[in-house]
Structures are given as C-alpha cells and as structure tokens.
Assembly symmetry: C2
Homo-oligomer: 253 residues x 2
C-alpha cells in the first residue's frame, strides 16, 4: 500500500467545508474521495491536515491516502502519481485543484505530522470593491490603524490558553496553542493578516482577526487584548470574521 501525499487548492465559496458529511456532497474531502473511489472501485478515504470551515479557501491544503498495490495495474508508485494528477485535473470541479501528488513515507500522516500551519486573513480596505479577488477578501471600508493592530498582535505571540478565541463552547480538550508569528501588511488596498502557529482552535483565526480589527477601528486599545486573553471568556473577544476572507496558506511538516 503506497502512501500518497497531495497538495490541494480550493475556492471554498461553494462548499460546506473540508470535512466529508453524510448530508451533502459539497465538501472538498467528499469530492476528492468520490473520484478516488470511482477510479479504484473501492472506498478510499483521505486524511487532511485539518478541517477548514464552510466558505474558507486553501492554497496549500495537504492530505494523504493509501492505495492497495493490487489496484494499480502493476504501476510503480511514481507513475501512479502522474496518473492521479491527471485524474484529478479531469474530474475535479474548476474550484478545486490538486497541484501536486507525491509518494510519502509509509508512516506519513497529514494531520498528526504537522509542524506548523500558516493561515491568511485578507481585508480589502478601499472605498471601491475589489472586482478580481472579491471572493477571497472581506470588503471593509472602515479606517484601520495598522500600527495599533500590530501592537495588539504582540500580546498573542507565544504559548497561551486561547480559550477566549475559541468558537467551540464545548471544547473539552486543551485550548493551549502557540502562535509563532503574526504579520499585518498593507498591500495596495489590502490589509493582510498572516498567522503561523503549531495549530489553531475552531474559528480562532477569525476571532483573533475580529479582535485585531476592533483595535484597528478604535473599539478598545491594543493593551486590552492582553486582558481578553487572560479572561479566557469568548464573549470578551471580538466578532468571528466571515469565512470568505480566510485562506489556509501553507502546512509545514
């Protein structure tokens, strides 16, 4: 059973998120598994690096799956990679693409082996809408103090209990995570928030961004973010930003 690692891009607009669901076929995992299952005549399940929510995009999602050699017509795994790339290019809808297929080591697991992940939240901050990237950015015309947002972000760096920034009220496991880096860049009319960490809680990037935007628009000063973190209370933090602006950028192993 060779173990295959794939890199996936998707425009999440039309989908109910990454994870397969019984009640809809509009999931990324479901679309990919359906193609593999049809091709190989038996159920092939894939493991993603993590879920993305409905409407969230990905530039560098990673997944892995195994195909029994008996189903590969005697092909070497490297040749199966080429076949898979062509298979996905032919059958995936135009808003999902597999950009690379590699043979992984036998023990590789796309979720368990993650070292760090990068997510990007993009806000289009001009008076007029962005026509070409409108589906990948949130349009918000309010003035934002980028320097204040950068100061606020400093309080979130490192290892903390991010319970105040967790969208899952019933979370029983640890809400401790480590954020390695937060950068806030102005690129033309765009404000781009880039987060790198060892993992993120449900809705965490969207809530952290909502909190930084609260700071940027003057709802509270940068220092208040330390108090929110300390409180561990979800209601203290800012709003959950819409999924549309969020992209899973890169997964590092």
């Amino acid at each position: 059973m060779a173990n295959y690692k794939i890199y996936i891009q998707y425009d999440g607009t039309r989908y109910k998120g990454w994870q397969r669901q019984r009640t809809t076929d509009q999931t990324i995992q479901g679309k990919i598994e359906a193609i593999l299952t049809r091709r190989y005549g038996r159920t092939i399940e894939i493991d993603g690096s993590g879920r993305t929510d409905a409407g969230v995009h990905a530039r560098g999602q990673v997944a892995n799956f195994r195909i029994p050699e008996a189903l590969c017509d005697g092909k070497a795994p490297e040749d199966v990679c080429d076949e898979l790339l062509a298979l996905f290019a032919e059958y995936l809808p135009e808003d999902i693409a597999v950009t690379e297929v590699r043979v992984a080591s036998e023990r590789f697991h796309s979720r368990l082996n993650v070292v760090k992940k990068t997510y990007v939240y993009r806000i289009w901050n001009a008076a007029y809408p962005n026509v070409f990237e409108r589906k990948y950015m949130l349009h918000d015309t309010r003035h934002m103090d980028v320097e204040a947002m950068r100061q606020a972000a400093e309080y979130l760096l490192g290892k903390h209990d991010f319970a105040a920034f967790c969208g899952n009220a019933k979370m029983k496991k640890s809400t401790v995570r480590t954020i390695h880096e937060i950068s806030i860049e102005e690129i033309g009319g765009e404000i781009r928030f880039t987060y790198t960490g060892n993992g993120f809680l449900q809705n965490m990037i969207r809530i952290v961004t909502g909190t930084l935007v609260d700071v940027g628009t003057g709802v509270y000063p940068p220092e208040h973010v330390a108090e929110i973190l300390e409180s561990k209370v979800r209601a203290e933090a800012g709003p959950t930003m819409p999924a549309q602006g969020l992209t899973l950028w890169e997964v590092v192993y």
Copy 2:
C-alpha cells in the same frame, strides 16, 4: 457641464461586452449609464476608451461623461466626484467597480484622446487548473517554446497593416496600427503576453496571441509570422483565442 473621468474595473465573464445594446442590459456601459440616469433623472451617456468584447475583462478601462451643473444641488465638481464614487460602490454589481472619479478638462474625450493602450493575454500553462484566477486566464497545458514566441513577436513591432489579424472581415477603414511593445513573461505557471500600441483592431490581440501560440507549439516557425503579416489575409493567421484570457490593462492619455 463638468466633465468627469472614471476608471473602471470589471470581470467580463457575465457580460456581453462594454458597449450598450438595445437587446440586453448585460453590458458594462449599460450598467454604468443606468445608475447615472436613475440618479440624475435624465439620460446620461458615457464614452469609453474603446469597446471590449463579450467576456473580456478590464483593470483600467476609462470613460468620461458630463453632468449638467443644475443637477448637482450646487455641489462643486470635486464633491460630485466623491458622491459618484459612493454611488457606484453602492449600486454597481460586484463584478464591476469604479475605482476613481476625477474632474477632467472640458475637452477631454476618453476615446479620441488615447495615446496608447495596454492589453494583457494570460495563459495558465500548468498541468493542474488555477483555482483562484481561473476566470481571468486560459488554461492550456501544451508545452510552449517561449523563446520562439518572443522571436515571432519581433516581426509585429512597429507600424504595419494588420489586416491578417483583424476579426472584422468587412473592415473598411485603415487596418494600419502601431505596436510599441510586446512582452512575453513566465510568471509561475502563467505565460503573460503584454501588448502596448496606439490602438488595436477588432479581435487583434486574440488573433496575434493565437498566432504566437501556434509558433510556441511548433505549428510554424517564428519567421512565418512575417509572411502572415505580409499576406494581409485573416485565414493565414492563427486562431482567435477565447475572450476569457484577455484584460484591458491600461489606457494612457
């Protein structure tokens, strides 16, 4: 009557082109004029720098129009600019945006005063599809010899009769145009053709690109492009490339 100059971006996918038509309201000019006419209570016509065909996009289309001062509630033209920008942001569909409104000199005419125009044709040349810019590039997986295309492009520079590259068989006016510059760049998996000239014939960029792609894929050698130009016969040149890959990039006055 102040003369207003506007900069327009559009994703042309859903539209029948720039030019107003009686039989459809799905034109860019029509959408903009409808908003102005509704706001000012009388027909206001706009002049574009030139037409773009159905499905063609624009990053820097320019148009101008006049509004009688009597309709402006005593506002100075500079204040009317701000009002117009907000008006367009509110009422235009999400795939059309007016990015800037300026007061132009009284004699400014967006078509007659064009000094040069830049068009870009984008081909996505990787094995997998481009998810995020799929509507703005043509996906073509064939290997293309970029150096051969660059050599071929040299024959087209300068002032020539481009009759062989004109999509309008009944063209009665001059088919002489001047191309100042053609650049062909590889940007990641994209091959980007950038054309700057004093003006272009109907479908000219799409036919020139189709001809260069013929060279790139080995249909004929670069030198043959000189013969096509010389022939002045449309059938000698390559195919008209799909509208999807074409963007009006910039208009210089």
